[in-house]
Assembly symmetry: D3
Homo-oligomer: 130 residues x 6
């Protein structure tokens, strides 16, 4: 069970209600996921997070699929199950195939291995990298 | 200083020498970076890591640039300076612009924030995500 | 299921029994929580951890509520569900309101984001900070 | 060296210039710290981070000193040197004494130890904690 | 539920089938554990991981039990339940007693504490350690 | 520079002086390492840490070398340079050869990789592991 009860769409008032509607419209979904219904306990955090995500995840020099893949890679490194699943689904909606998902996992695992090789051996930064 | 001295190209023998040559040829570089020269202290690890990286990072359903971006994202989450710099450079060689790099950082930072929101609130996995 | 079975109050002998009684008296609780009943499998670790916690968490220049908030902040960053819940409860008993809990989470999440911004950009330490 | 050069106050234009002035006025400082001058390479991230921090770190149910202590606790758990130093200084300005700093460190270290005890023993969440 | 369905022994073909047989023979087990049946979704990763583990975990200057203890220590620090349990079992098969397991946990927890003391105080590396 | 100045042997008084002498005698060393001289700023933490380490790291079912190897493995996973170096030296004094050190690193890196494979694929715990 989450630490605070989720705020259902029926219970939503004011700022929370408005953001719920924005989420459903923008994401083209019919039900608000638990992430938003949980952080809605703190309306300022709900608003700030929703606005920040809109800005950070919008198409830029990187396309939206690539951004979702990066999001999943971070979530895997932090072992955040909810985040892997929700951004995994978001990535699928933007075109990630199963084959891409498996390649993503292989890269994430490999990077975690070589990160530790570097730190364990205390590899010195090459002068051409500074 | 690294834990073990680097193995210079002059000192390289047998398996190490062969892999050094393969690295220079494959990567089209003239000098072996410290990462390889350091893990060369353990020739089996050098060989296994080089072969694994070749396999994992080759073009697949994900292109090589996307794979490098994922690599950098993991390295940032693990705070591995060497890895950020070396795979950042690799990503640049494959087409990452400065603007893409900054967007990558923004996504990585944001993902780290929402990962903690999820874990702090103990958000329950929605049934549609299972 | 935990790796080792918990040691019930009935099973407790010697050092373990004495510490269980001390925990119940000091904490004014009637049942020993699973944390203590699990680490009781290693009586030395039980004793050392109980004594250390008593010393570290007692009122000092920081009051006990602030110390519990810090404890929860670390547990959130490490994604330790049990620790978030048990020290969250301890904080509540010492005066943490729901509003304080939500502010705590917002700070923890934000700090995790800027920590990664710093590491990703490799921000140099200002001379006035050294 | 940081990944991107810092943006000096002289180089600052538009949004960046305005935020630099806001930082100096709000924080009552004469020089912009490297954190802001580095992330200024991405003006949107600069603006979002500055606004978010203002909102999250303002006095609420938790006072500003407590929020800074929590910030430092997270930064210590993530081993972010810059963040420990900069938010350590911010905490000092808000009243943290050396004695409080040492108590903070003791709590952070202890929490990291018991977090691992819990995860290593796989302690089950007590029913009264759910 | 895992992200991809496990590949049962009946479904296994080609490379996967061959590795499943090798695992059963080498490990002297009758059923393939979920780890292998899950990563079998990516046959290259299955093959690479199996071969790498064979090489890394074989008796060398360190005996196999010591290697398993190290594996568990890393898994505890990363809070990976599956890994703690599976390598914990592997260690038991190689001679780890319950008493050794508890001592292992005590060392892991203590190391996590002093790691944070070092990073929080920013202890300088002694010249004799460089 | 560390956050607090180290407490030199000349400056040491009372509890700190006594522990410094105990450290030198027990460890058979002539100079107190920076770790102890830094945490001596908080005499209670110095005393608690010294006593705890004595208890946790003493020969038990696991010998002292194995315990040091585990300590280093945790420190590598947490990227704590000081801890890798100081416990690496302690392990050498207790018999760790260079070959053993390299094998230790290979196991640590590999475990970090498979930990992420497990978390990324969300591998389900086999019933025989529960």
């Amino acid at each position: 069970m989450s630490i605070f009860k989720t705020i259902s769409e029926k219970q939503a008032r004011g700022k929370v209600k408005k953001i719920y509607e924005d989420i459903k419209k923008t994401r083209k979904i019919k039900k608000i996921p638990n992430f938003w219904k949980t952080i809605a306990n703190d309306p300022d955090t709900l608003e700030r997070t929703w606005n920040s995500l809109q800005q950070v995840m919008k198409k830029g020099s990187l396309d939206q699929l690539t951004k979702e893949l990066i999001y999943v890679a971070v979530s895997m490194t932090n072992s955040c199950e909810y985040c892997i699943r929700s951004h995994g689904l978001a990535a699928k909606k933007k075109g990630m195939t199963d084959k891409m998902f498996k390649e993503l996992i292989a890269v994430v695992a490999m990077a975690n291995e070589t990160n530790r090789l570097v730190e364990s051996y205390q590899v010195e930064v090459d002068s051409f990298l500074k």
